[in-house]
Structures are given as structure tokens and as C-alpha cells.
């Protein structure tokens, strides 16, 4: 009689066979991934490829957060949504696409969007958080909620022909506030709605976010902690730079933090950044 060397049934082995063959990933990586839960905040330009690739790779549970509906001018970059989904909520449209790719996946649909009042509660339910949002106050909120709940944060951003990627609050690396303790002036903040974005740029960054989340969830490779990846699509140049470490006087991840899971809901993120939690004007 054969010893049972792993917990994968024959269907699962067959389905994921091509990545089980990758030595650095293997059976252990797939087992870890199947047990993991990942939250994607934002089902737009970054969230579309992130959700598709995480669903396909075989994560156990995928959470999707967004409060918007699909609009025609999203379709040039938000490839998880079809023309037929225009007018539908992004979460419903994206969840259906993920289930069509992988019926074994558990998908949680969070229609309310993320606010200071619900962030800690939603984020507490997942192992890894993917920031695929489009505005500054939500980025600070997600960062703070991840820090107070002890979750690694895969952060991606795209605008015009440029993209950025890093992993915050992992392995004693910095959080978003360590790097940007003071928000930029609101005039300096361009969103995709007012400055535009070449659709495939969030495609590349969203795929890279899925990669970082898969590495974190499966225990494979080196996540991009304390490093920032910078993409210039016009020249197809990718620069990886070394970031500062954790700031011991950071108000959220420092040694004497002012923000906690108890008081985070009282922080006024829109006032702090002088901008709204939506890129709609």
C-alpha cells in the first residue's frame, strides 16, 4: 500500500500539474496556496488580472471588494468585465468570471467598498491583501488596516504609461506610511480618470501583484519587500530599487504606534489626504 505523501486528490493533481512540476513551487506550494485566502481591494484595472490569475492558480478563497459598477470607459483595461457587464457591479462581474475559471474557488463578494468603519473587519478574514485601488485615502486606509491586523500588503499602482509595485509590512520591511508619512498635496494626485492610463500597464502590474501574492501564499521565492519595482512602459524598462526599512517612529507600524485596530475607524482618511475615496469627481 502506498504512503500518502500529500493531500492533493487526483483531479487537483491533474488540474495544477503544470505548476506542480516547477521545483521551486511544487506540491508544497500548491497545498499552501489551496489553503490560503487573499483579498483583492478594487476590481478594476489592477484587480482584473490579479483576480483572474489568483483564481486560476488555485488559491482557496478569494475576496473581492469594490462598490462601483462596470462602465464603458473601464473596458479598455478592466479585462475581467465584458460589454454585457456594463451597469453591473464590478464585484458580481469579477466573481462570476473567477468562478467560471475555477469552480473549486470560494469567492466572497464585498459590495460595500472599503471604509474606515469596515476595513479592519474585512481585512481580518484574509491572509494576504492586494491593494488594487485607485485613490490615495483608500491606500492609506488599507495600509493601516493591514498593519494593525498583521497582514502583508501587495501594493500596485498604474498611471499613464508607468507602474509601481511593492510589498508592504512584510518581513520587517516598511509600510506605506514609513515611506510616505505625509500625503502629497491633492493637486499632485492624478487618477486614471483625469490623467488616463494605457490599459495594458495595469495589466502588467496586476499580474505582478498576483505573482507577489502567490509567492507569499505558497512560500515560494522572495517577495518584493523593502524593494520597489518601477515600470516605464514606453521604453519597457523595469527598475528595482532598494527602499528604507521600517520606520521605528511610524505612527502605525512604529514602536509606539498611534493607530490600532480599536481606533483606526476614527481616523479621517479623506481629511488627512484632502481627497475623496473615489476617483469620481
Amino acid at each position: 500500500n502506498c504512503e500518502r505523501l500529500h493531500n492533493l486528490d487526483p483531479y487537483t493533481i491533474s488540474r495544477y500539474s503544470r505548476q506542480l512540476l516547477v521545483p521551486a513551487f511544487g506540491v508544497k506550494g500548491q497545498e499552501n496556496l489551496l489553503k490560503s485566502s487573499i483579498l483583492i481591494i478594487g476590481a478594476g484595472g489592477l484587480g482584473s488580472p490579479a483576480a483572474l490569475y489568483l483564481a486560476a492558480a488555485g488559491v482557496g478563497c478569494l475576496g473581492l471588494v469594490d462598490h462601483d459598477v462596470v462602465e464603458l470607459d473601464n473596458l479598455h483595461r478592466q479585462v475581467i468585465h465584458t460589454e454585457g457587464a456594463v451597469g453591473e457591479t464590478k464585484v458580481k462581474s469579477a466573481a462570476a468570471a473567477c468562478r467560471a475559471i475555477n469552480s473549486f474557488l470560494k469567492v466572497n463578494e464585498h459590495y460595500s467598498g472599503l471604509q474606515a468603519s469596515n476595513a479592519v473587519n474585512i481585512i481580518s478574514k484574509y491572509d494576504i491583501i492586494v491593494d488594487a485601488t485607485d485613490n490615495l485615502p483608500t491606500r492609506y486606509l488599507i495600509n493601516d488596516a493591514c498593519v494593525v491586523m498583521g497582514k502583508p500588503l501587495v501594493s500596485g499602482a498604474a498611471l499613464g504609461t508607468e507602474g509601481q509595485l511593492t510589498v508592504y509590512h512584510h518581513d520587517d520591511g516598511p509600510c506605506y506610511r514609513c515611506i510616505f508619512p505625509v500625503p502629497p498635496p491633492p493637486d499632485a494626485c492624478q487618477s486614471c480618470s483625469d490623467a488616463g492610463v494605457l490599459g495594458v500597464v495595469p495589466g502588467i502590474i496586476g499580474c505582478l501583484q498576483a505573482l507577489e501574492a502567490i509567492k507569499l501564499a505558497s512560500g515560494t521565492g522572495e517577495p518584493l519587500s523593502s524593494r520597489l519595482l518601477i515600470l516605464d512602459a514606453l521604453t519597457t524598462s523595469v527598475q528595482k530599487v532598494k527602499l528604507r526599512g521600517r520606520n521605528h517612529s511610524c505612527i502605525v507600524c512604529g514602536d509606539a504606534p498611534q493607530l490600532s485596530r480599536e481606533n483606526l475607524h476614527q481616523f479621517d482618511y479623506e481629511a488627512f489626504t484632502s481627497s475623496l475615496m473615489s476617483d469620481k469627481i
Partner: protein, 99 residues
């Protein structure tokens, strides 16, 4: 001293939409190295085309701008006291938050 300066993440709009600038700058006191403090002033006086408040605040860069010297965060190198040398590359990049 020859330096390569790059402006990214939208900052290039303040520099005539040119992302990469090859510059020639001499340290004022005849030394062979240049402090970032001095470089910032040189950039403001020689390269910056518009809206200086979108690039600088006080004597440093505005919040939301990262400064990278040879692929390394300037915080690790002394920030305004960091020094650059012949042929170094300094990147000024604004954090993005679109998706």
C-alpha cells in the same frame, strides 16, 4: 560632474515632459562630491520649468516624491546630506495611486 537625472510618475511634466536629463554640474566649493541639498537647488534653478511647489517643499522634495540614488532610497544614504559622485543617477519619482 556628469549626472543623469530622471523624473518619473508625472514629475516630468514639471520639466518640459523630458524624463531623462544628462547634466553637468560643479560642486560650489570645488569639492569632487555634491550633496543632494545642493543638487536640489541646482535642479530648481536650472531644470524646473513650472509649479515649483509640485516639486519642492521647503529645502527638500514635496511629500509623495521618492529620491533614488543609483537604485537606492536616499533615506538610506543620508537624505539631504547624501552625496553623489561622477556618473551617478538620481531618480525623482512621484508615488502613483491609480489603478
Amino acid at each position: 560632474m556628469q549626472l543623469t537625472l530622471e523624473f518619473k510618475g508625472g514629475l516630468e511634466l514639471l520639466f518640459g515632459s523630458v524624463k531623462v536629463h544628462q547634466i553637468e554640474v560643479e560642486p560650489s566649493d570645488g569639492k569632487d562630491k555634491l550633496k543632494l541639498q545642493e543638487l536640489l537647488i541646482w535642479v530648481r534653478n536650472h531644470l524646473l520649468k513650472e509649479r515649483p511647489e509640485m516639486f519642492m517643499k521647503g529645502n527638500s522634495v514635496r511629500p509623495g516624491v521618492l529620491v533614488l540614488i543609483n537604485d537606492c532610497d536616499w533615506e538610506l544614504l543620508g537624505q539631504l546630506d547624501a552625496v553623489v559622485d561622477e556618473k551617478d543617477t538620481v531618480v525623482f519619482i512621484s508615488t502613483l495611486h491609480g489603478g
